[in-house]
Amino acid sequence: MIVEGLVYTKQHEWAKVEGNIATVGITDYAQMLLGEIVFVELPVVGTEVISEHEMAVVESTKAASDIFAPVTGKIVSVNSTLESEPELINKDCYNAGWICRIEMADDASLESLLNAEQYKQHVKGAGQ
């Protein structure tokens, strides 16, 4: 499942941009590959993150995976519900399973992100 209106990274994060705030999570494809999520290491509010650099860790029964920041900016809030209910990422990755909100430094890092159609093609390519 890919949601229209969001932007995506090649590493399977999504971002929903509203003004200068980007809400960030991992895609349905990513949660399916990871399998059942058992732990989420959330970023610390106030941390500066850089686009394409690690900002969080998601651990499943299969592997621990770095989550990369889709945009450059500052973490302004995190979804602390994930600490007790990491399975929200499996159940509802685009809504209740959001990971954090980033206040973007500028729009520059948005340029390299994919739209829904481009991401769909990217996933298609990755599956082959």
Partner: protein
Amino acid sequence: MKLIFEKSVPGRRAVQAGPGDVPAVNIQSTLLRESAAELPELSELDVVRHFTELSHRNFGVDSNFYPLGSCTMKYNPKVAEHIASYPGFARLHPLLPQLRMGGMLTQGALRVLYEMDLLLREITGMAGFTMQPLAGAHGELTGMMIMAAYHADKGNKKTTVLIPDSAHGTNPASAAIAGYSVATIPSKDGVMDVDAVKEHLSDDVAGLMLTCPNTLGLFNPHVKEICDLIHSVNGLAYYDGANLNAIVGKARPGDFGFDIVHVNLHKTFATPHGGGGPGAGPVGVTEELVPYLPVSVVAKRSDGTYTLEYDRPKSIGYIAPFYGNFSVVLKAYVYILMLGNEGLRRVAENAVLNANYVKEKLKSHYRIAFDRLCKHECVFSISDQMAHNGIRAIDIAKALIDRGFHPPTVYFPTVVHEAMMIEPTESESKETLDGFIDAMIDIAGQAGSDPARLKTAPATAPVCRPNETAAARNLNIACL
């Protein structure tokens, strides 16, 4: 199977000790427990049967096929165990060489360490070894500390180590603990991409960590070029010997241009591996790096006796108590001498032959990650079964248990989706491999015909399908 506590019958006893002739002592009541300890009460025969039954539930390479990829779980010849149990070795006290005249009582053991150094030099093409690291990852850390000591000594300002995306997780961990940041290099056609290495090349590069053949069982044809590139910026090339079994006796990391090498004795050289080993991860280096090796080092005097040298001012120091896992080194020494040059070559040849046999027989039933000649292991992706039937690698792994095989490595390397990594090793006969192949084909059939049943496998194990998600999410460590 009942717990030993459930088999307990009040008053039942094994051996009855006779009445003691030591006078009873009055113990302060504050030191006594308030209620009696709940110890199981059984006859000796009940206890013997209980533990014998438990021992039958062990699964090891002595009982069944154990194709755990990237782990080289090969058979451990019993003669090596026997020799390591000789009292002359087994009862040596590790402090003996430090005592006055004690060195003369440990000449045999020191000679084993000295000659093992020479044997490993010959096998890997390096100039000197330390036997001290207690496992592969410990060898990696030792190697990276040598790399850091070398750069510090030379005044080189280095910050970064290049590691391919298919590496064992211990590689970046070792580099980080040695103080370096890690640049992950993507793979191309299953091996470290030379162009990506060039892109990351700068004066900041301290070195490279490379497993070759890598965790996909693929030998990097550009390995020499990659080492040369690293040397062009005064970096050092580190060879992770986890997969040395594929090339032992055939090719030497030192000849590719590597500067530091670790060898897993518990993999390539057939010392016990599963169940905690213990392992040993000797580290070899080039002539230029020998001064940085840990202390102590076994040296041969002009009169032919052996001694321990400590006066090594540039050494990284102690990395393990005493001389490492000595008996593991001894078992590997026996193995190498027993096989000799010709035998070690045949190890590599048969390990590679067996892996390719399994790959060819199974590739029409499971998607092969890279369809070309592999080395000691082959990696399948269960992605087709997942797309069509919702079957994951874990389901195939569990179904193998019902068919009498230990599951291969799953979900590693992470660059392959739903990875299943099979390393048969040279120990296994064609008949065993055929049995495993038949089981895998049977499971592939069941993935199509009855996926729901596959999801509940294993049905025959003492513990069937533990809920791994619940176990990870609801950690209950109260008993610790």
